[in-house]
């Protein structure tokens, strides 16, 4: 059998509900009728209701089939997923909206994630399927969302709050622009396994991979030496070479970053900034992480103006005030010391006490 290749994904045109096909590109406005329920109205007057449901992202085929059954019942067999891995039921028949929501709630599914809510955390593989994680992904996300559930199923926050998680510095969750980012980190330099390096590694690539130039060749051993003082445990050498493992039960854990955003609404995209350099891996429920995240959410929620994202709020009040209000201790790791760190230093006597 000669394999068929390069035929591409299914054509979306065949997957759109009829009301979308008809009103494609002719939408006029939307309303958020209640948490998890959107109503989009077209120029034609047609409307479509969207019911959004939180998903654990890591799902079984059974779950997918369950959802299909619901979509068949209420949506004529049409559904979609969102860029944050929520599931959206696309309802063309208004009369089915309430029953659908009732059905979903009865199943225990979280209906919400719209508007000024905490939507589904973008996250990554963790111990489920990756070789470089410093923490698990799904476990922390589950713990955090159990704790913040009320903010998913409601719209009571001042603005959007996007939480993301990546289990190592590769940042597959691209957490670097999140209101709150949870990032797995290593804290110990790689322990070089010379035998593996000799047999399996492209030495020049490993050297080039190190952001801080901490790796030098060791030509005598045909291996590598790590200058541990210059290593900041990014794990990029391990990505390039199995002989440079960095994972460690004590060294590994989680850091917390805040104030990033993606949209250009009001203010341009911002990077998230480090506020808690380390919290231990404490499975199964990572209590230190969940309470740190909740604290940040609540401090923000109780101080920000309406429509003010985490980073916008902090920009207004100043980082010194953020540490003050949140009670998070300011630690030396938060001060930049990478290339051009001085851009992040305060070059003015104007700050708050």
């Amino acid at each position: 059998m000669s394999t068929k290749t390069d035929f591409g994904p299914p054509n979306y045109k065949e997957l759109l509900p009829p009301v979308i096909e008809k009103n494609y590109g002719q939408w006029k406005y939307h309303e958020r009728l209640q948490p998890g329920l959107l109503r989009h109205v077209a120029d034609s007057g047609d409307e479509i209701y969207t019911v959004r449901v939180g998903s654990p992202r890591l799902v079984s085929t059974d779950w997918i089939k369950d959802m299909c059954a619901i979509a068949d019942e209420y949506c004529g067999g049409y559904l979609r997923f969102t860029s944050r891995h929520n599931l959206e039921f696309l309802v063309s028949d208004k009369s089915k909206v309430e029953p659908l929501i009732a059905h979903l709630k009865a199943m225990g599914l979280p209906v919400g994630g719209t508007g000024h809510a905490i939507s589904n955390p973008v996250h990554t593989q963790g111990w489920i399927h990756c070789h470089t994680p410093a923490t698990d992904a799904s476990g922390i996300v589950k713990s955090v969302m159990d704790d913040l559930y009320e903010y998913f199923v409601d719209m009571k926050l001042p603005a959007y709050c996007r939480i993301s998680l990546a289990c190592c510095l590769n940042m597959c969750g691209a957490v670097h622009c999140s209101d709150i980012a949870i990032l797995g980190i290593h804290r110990k330099p790689p322990k070089v396994n010379h035998e593996i390096v000799q047999a399996k590694c492209e030495i020049p690539n490993v050297i080039a991979a190190c952001p801080t130039g901490a790796i030098r060749p060791d030509p005598k051993n045909k291996s590598l030496v790590v200058n541990e003082d210059r290593c900041m445990y990014c794990g990029n050498c391990y990505t390039m070479c199995p002989g440079m493992p960095v994972a460690d039960p004590v060294g590994d854990g989680v850091s917390i970053w805040v104030g990033g955003k993606i949209s250009s609404a009001r203010t341009p995209p911002k990077f998230s900034r480090l506020v808690i350099p380390f919290l231990p891996n404490n499975p199964p429920r990572w209590p230190e992480v969940t309470s740190a995240v909740r604290n940040i959410v609540e401090v923000w929620a109780s101080h920000a103006h309406k429509h003010e994202r985490m980073g916008e709020w902090i920009d207004r009040i100043g980082w010194e005030r953020f540490f003050d209000l949140s009670g998070i201790p300011f630690e030396v790791q938060l001060i930049d010391d990478f290339t051009m760190a001085s851009d992040t230093f305060r070059s003015t006597p104007t700050f708050k006490w």
């Binding site: 047999a199 399996k200 590694c201 492209e202 030495i203 020049p204 690539n205 990505t239 390039m240």
Partner: protein, 105 residues
Amino acid sequence: MPVMDVLGSAISVDEDGFLEDPDVWSEALAEAIAKMEDVDVLTEDHWKVVNYLRDYYKQFGIAPMIRKLCKDTGFQLKTIYELFPSGPAKGACKIAGLPKPTGCV
């Protein structure tokens, strides 16, 4: 550790079939690995690629980037895939006895 049975002797390979000890590579071994990568016979064109990869690796300690491989061998990427259906990294490098590429081909 998995082993591969080649010409009567057991050769250690990793799970992906890459040689554990690059020094055991031989042309005969290459032929044997080739079969497992859907390459029945190593033609002259195959050898051109394989030898290029080995030479490059010997000189630079890394596998070449694909673009370079194509340029230097004169084969289009399409042709490389025809020669090595599992591709330059999984196919050609493995046959050439290179370490498992991490970044490149």
